[in-house]
Amino acid sequence: MSRFAEPLARLIEELKKLPGIGSKSAQRLAFHILRSSNEDADALAIAVRDVKASLVLCSECNNITDVDPCVYCSSATRNLRQVCVVEEPTNIASIEKTKHFNGVYHVLHGTLSPLHGIGPEQLRISNLMRRVESNQVDEVIIATNPTVEGEATATYLSGRLRRPGLRVTRIAMGIPVGSDIEYADEITMLKAMQGRHDL
């Protein structure tokens, strides 16, 4: 028999499915919702429902958006001829924080991952290829993670994208700002040395 009333037990079970939420955290969140006002609980329920009902993938770049094309692809001030390829929509926020990139994005929604059976067919690249093939792009910046999977994806994409007049670049890798070279591992240091630039 459940220790809690059935609706509460059901809410705990649903919350436990969220990443990083264990039994204790789920119970804590469920009791917080139970004790909150009806308006707050309704607002949470509506927000959860709306996020599934109103969000779609941008037909140009695969970003998650409530308007198609998304705010970046439809912006009049952004440079549509410079495309930054990222693994996940959350990566866009990290690049936007720099305030130094005024191009548009393309979201792959994953990387090539042989151990998970994800090959080139599963990557969302058809709309990127379409943009490139219609000569709408001058530069593609590949900003996948510096992991084996991210590197394999970057190498694969650069091969697919290579054509006259298109610049394909990879984001730099190396020592994080504010850290100490003394503690850098060999591979990070190697990449930093390979990616050095003239002053």
Partner: protein, 247 residues
């Protein structure tokens, strides 16, 4: 709690809780072990790129009595696959090595021969040809695991196969002569069986400069993968991807 250290090959990582990683290591000291790398997802300071699959590391870990999972304390990178360009075929080949080791090796059982084989094959995979190292690896892993049948006699009639045609079947535990082959069997060429004999007698480095024709040893690889899959009763995810690359 006992602290241990060993050279190890990182096989896989899985996300665990909010910011931890569950890491499967093939250690030289005690074979396959699993450990938790605390906060490895949130901070790269302690582990850096050391937890990428097929990285050779010197691992320090704490073994807690009565606990299946160790606590991974630190990993120093000795060799990283990221030091060379990672093409898609190379990523699939490295993934295949990691998957075969993870599926075939038992927990907490040192296997120095498999460890040395893995190091040699990972080094050979730095070159442009992935098919030779993969063939060599699958052949030796099948042999070291005790799953490789006799390649010189028919499993049905015990007749010698030397120099004659031989066949294999996904459900048969060995090679068959033309008279005893099953329906829907595949042929394994004399050349591929000869290649296997050569590979038993020489280290993987001996084959690195060898010209390797497209499709060479494909029948041997198919036979080896079928043999291994039959014994673990599971399909390798990377086997299908290797097939697609081979075209």
């Amino acid at each position: 709690m006992a602290s241990k250290e060993s050279d190890a090959i990182v096989l896989r990582t899985y996300p665990l809780r909010e910011s931890d990683l569950l890491v499967t290591l093939f250690t030289r000291l005690e074979g396959k072990v699993r450990g938790v790398a605390k906060a490895a997802k949130r901070s790269k300071r302690r582990f850096g790129g050391a937890l990428e699959p097929l990285t050779l590391v010197h691992a320090h870990y704490d073994v807690r009595e009565g606990h299946e999972l160790n606590r991974l304390d630190s990993c120093e990178v000795l060799e990283s696959p990221l030091a060379q360009e990672v093409s898609y075929p190379r990523a699939v080949a490295l993934g295949h090595v990691a998957e075969v080791l993870d599926e075939l090796l038992p927990d907490h059982e040192a296997n120095d021969a498999a460890f040395r084989l893995s190091l040699a094959v990972i080094a050979a995979l730095r070159g442009p040809n992935i098919w030779m190292p993969i063939t060599y690896f699958d052949l030796w892993m099948a042999r070291l695991s005790g799953y490789l049948p006799d390649l010189s006699t028919c499993m049905v009639c015990d007749g010698p196969l030397n120099g004659s045609r031989a066949f294999f079947h996904a459900l048969a535990d060995g090679l068959m002569c033309p008279a005893d082959k099953r329906l829907a069997s595949s042929e394994i060429s004399v050349a591929s069986r000869g290649l296997a004999e050569l590979m038993f007698r020489a280290p993987v480095d001996a084959f690195t400069g060898m010209p390797w024709a497209s499709g060479q040893g494909a029948d041997l690889r198919k036979f080896l993968i079928q043999t291994l899959q039959r014994h673990i009763e599971k399909k390798f995810v990377t086997a299908g991807m290797l097939e697609k690359i081979a075209g």
